[in-house]
């Protein structure tokens, strides 16, 4: 009777080796690499106007980028400014408010905001009073959804909040927080220049739970310097003990030629490729054994969390912040480097603060680049979304939605899927493509098959990769 339960990841190693290539993460399709400067404010406004004309217009989701950090985490590839000057934030907010006002003009009165997310940098670099001010400016320029349907999220750097400032923050109605843990091991924390205690994170979670925050997510990263299977196992013990609703397990992509701060990480401190893969496999085994559902890509959730329930009922979405449960929204990105997705377009704000201020000063939306999606982009984006979210594509439904004949439109891709199917990553039948549980670990590889911009060169280019590794 006493059969040892099989590990979730048993027998995966050969596949991981085979499919560990450089590839996009598909938080958008086409990916940000395709954005170009031919896309202007005028294009954006046209798309916004078209989005207002939908018979039932989509709700809005706002992403607000706060680029400031008090200290530099060596691994981080985000757009950020390390400073201790509080005037920097005050001045930034002035521009952010102007941008919010400019944006608000382009959306009809029935475009309700259903989701507001603060990311960074370090959003908690700002005082609660400053965050409140941002919320007020949003409320003046947009129509907010009802409080019980409004999802209000913020990324928390545990080192930047006190229990008092956290309470102020939660009193504003934040109902979703994510906390950057990365790793609990002191040596690893030293090597990435981010030192924070288990207790500080536990205190934040306890306080948030007492305030009815209904979803807490912890971010952890594998592949960091000084990490070993043993050390990460201890980190996982602590993460599991904290029992967050969601866990994001990110892959550290070491690309020092692109991200200068990563040069402060000694390459010799990084776990080897084999060790790193084992850390990844251990993590999946540990988290699934602890009752977490693997959502796909980097995400895990408790079975009763909305991310897990929407995985099973087909409501899952993918956007710039990863997976989300929200019905399709148009996304407005505010602040430096923020990305918007409006109607059939993507656009990105300028990443340089002085440039951002200059454009806003002239009364322009600070858009640096973007893309109007072609008909083909839209079809492929829809397919990649289905593969990465529900993991099921029913050809007849897809044909109906996109007005194509799947077997004709994706003829060469269907042939290419053969190899993935042979490896048990997906099942292709007469009527559908279904991603297997094993295949969910290789969603990037599956999606790459349908990416019209992804080339063989990208697969082989290991010298100066445009993308991070898929595993």
């Amino acid at each position: 009777m006493s059969s040892v339960p099989k590990k979730a990841t048993e027998g995966l190693e050969p596949l991981l080796n085979k499919y560990d290539v450089y590839g996009p993460r598909y938080t958008s399709y086409p990916t940000a690499l395709q954005f170009n400067e031919a896309f202007t404010e005028e294009d954006y406004i046209k798309q916004a106007q078209a989005s207002n004309q939908h018979l039932v217009p989509k709700p809005l989701s706002l992403y607000i980028h706060i680029p400031f950090c008090k200290s530099l985490c060596y691994y981080c590839g985000c757009n950020k400014i390390v400073t201790h000057k509080s005037e920097a934030a005050d001045s930034y907010l002035d521009y952010l408010f102007q941008e919010t006002q400019l944006q608000g003009q382009h959306f009809a009165d029935d475009r309700l905001v259903q989701q507001i997310h603060f990311g960074g940098g370090t959003p908690t670099y700002l005082a609660a009073s400053q965050l409140r001010e941002i919320m007020e400016v949003i409320a003046q320029n947009f129509h907010l959804g009802l409080p019980d349907t409004l999802e209000l999220g913020i990324e928390i750097d545990p080192r930047s909040v006190t229990l008092e400032s956290l309470t102020d923050l939660l009193n504003m109605g934040f109902n979703r927080i994510s906390i950057g843990v990365q790793d609990f091991d002191p040596d690893v924390q030293q090597a990435i220049n981010r030192i924070q205690s288990y207790e500080s994170i536990k205190d934040i979670m306890d306080t948030a739970r007492a305030k009815n925050v209904n979803s807490i997510s912890l971010d952890i990263i594998y592949g960091l310097p000084k990490q070993t299977r043993k050390s990460f196992d201890d980190t996982l013990d602590q993460v599991i003990a904290l029992r967050p609703d969601r866990i994001a397990l990110y892959n550290y992509a070491h690309m020092p030629q692109r991200i200068p701060s990563q040069r402060l990480i000694h390459t010799s401190d990084l776990p080897g490729a084999d060790e790193k893969m084992r850390i990844f496999l251990d993590s999946i085994d540990r988290l699934t054994a602890a009752g977490y559902v693997y959502i796909g890509m980097d995400h895990f959730a408790l079975p009763d969390d909305s991310l897990a329930t929407s995985l099973s009922d087909g409501g899952l979405q993918r956007n710039f912040q990863g997976y989300s449960t929200h019905a399709e929204c148009d996304v407005i990105g505010l602040g430096v480097s923020a990305i918007s997705r409006i109607n059939e377009s993507y656009s990105q704000n300028i990443g340089v603060l002085s440039g951002y201020k200059g454009m806003v000063d002239h009364g322009n939306l600070p858009i640096q680049k973007g893309l109007n999606l072609s008909a083909d982009d839209t079809v492929r984006a829809g397919l990649i979304q289905e593969l990465m979210c529900s993991g099921l594509v029913i050809f007849s439904d897809f044909n109906e939605r996109h007005d194509v004949f799947f077997h004709h439109y994706f003829k060469p891709e269907l042939v290419k899927l053969g190899d993935l199917a042979d490896d048990g990553l997906l099942e292709v039948t007469e009527i559908s493509i279904k991603v297997t549980p094993k295949g969910r670990l290789f969603l990037r590889n599956i999606a790459m098959t349908f990416d019209a911009y992804f080339t063989q060169t990208d697969l082989q280019n290991t010298e100066e990769p445009r993308y991070s590794k898929t595993i």
Partner: protein, 242 residues
Amino acid sequence: MANQIASSRAPSFLKCSQCSLGNLCLPVGMNNQDMGELESIIDSTSPYNDDAPVYTAGQSFDKIFAVKSGMFKSVIVDSLGNDHITGFHLPGELFGLDAIHSEKYTSSAVSLGTSSLCAIEYKELEHLSHRLPSLQHQLMNLMSKEVRTSQSLNVDLTAEQKLAGFLVALSSRYKQRGYSETRFHLVMPRRDIANHLNMAPETVSRLFKRFANDGLLEINRTDLTIVNMQALKEMSGCLSVC
């Protein structure tokens, strides 16, 4: 503006006898010889881009127009300068008829999307209709239809009834043109539908959402599928078409 109407006599592709809209437009009930005479007074125009005007209110009246492809809207401006969309014109439908009495266009006609027209010199049409009873009959028919449509808009209806009626009527007009009566793309922007039905755009989206939730419609951006035609007809009170 008016130079958009700059035109030439019908080339072969404009022949009524070869037009798929012949059973809806002016030539209904005509024999080949009569049709030839009608063709000789029809001018082609170059295609109109989105939002391009055909004529503007106050301009002196000389032509009536038949929609060949796409869609046009008629707009009147009130004394406060507000636009009111009095109608949307589908292929095979005539507009400009309201100017016959005043000899000035009383509304402006504007293209929705890229559309094309046949232009007909009214004086010539009038002369021809004296000689061709079939033409006169069809002209009367089309005018009568116009009168009925504008009457149905005058009835005091709830927003829900108005939108349902609008969709039922549109569905039936598409059906007459050989298109699907249950699935169509709404070319006119939501704000134009709202304006035409004298509602706030937000009311229109709220109603569409409710109709979708109630299983009457399926909506994808600006594409619409009527799922329960019967319910929609009942809701509309069947005032406009049934």
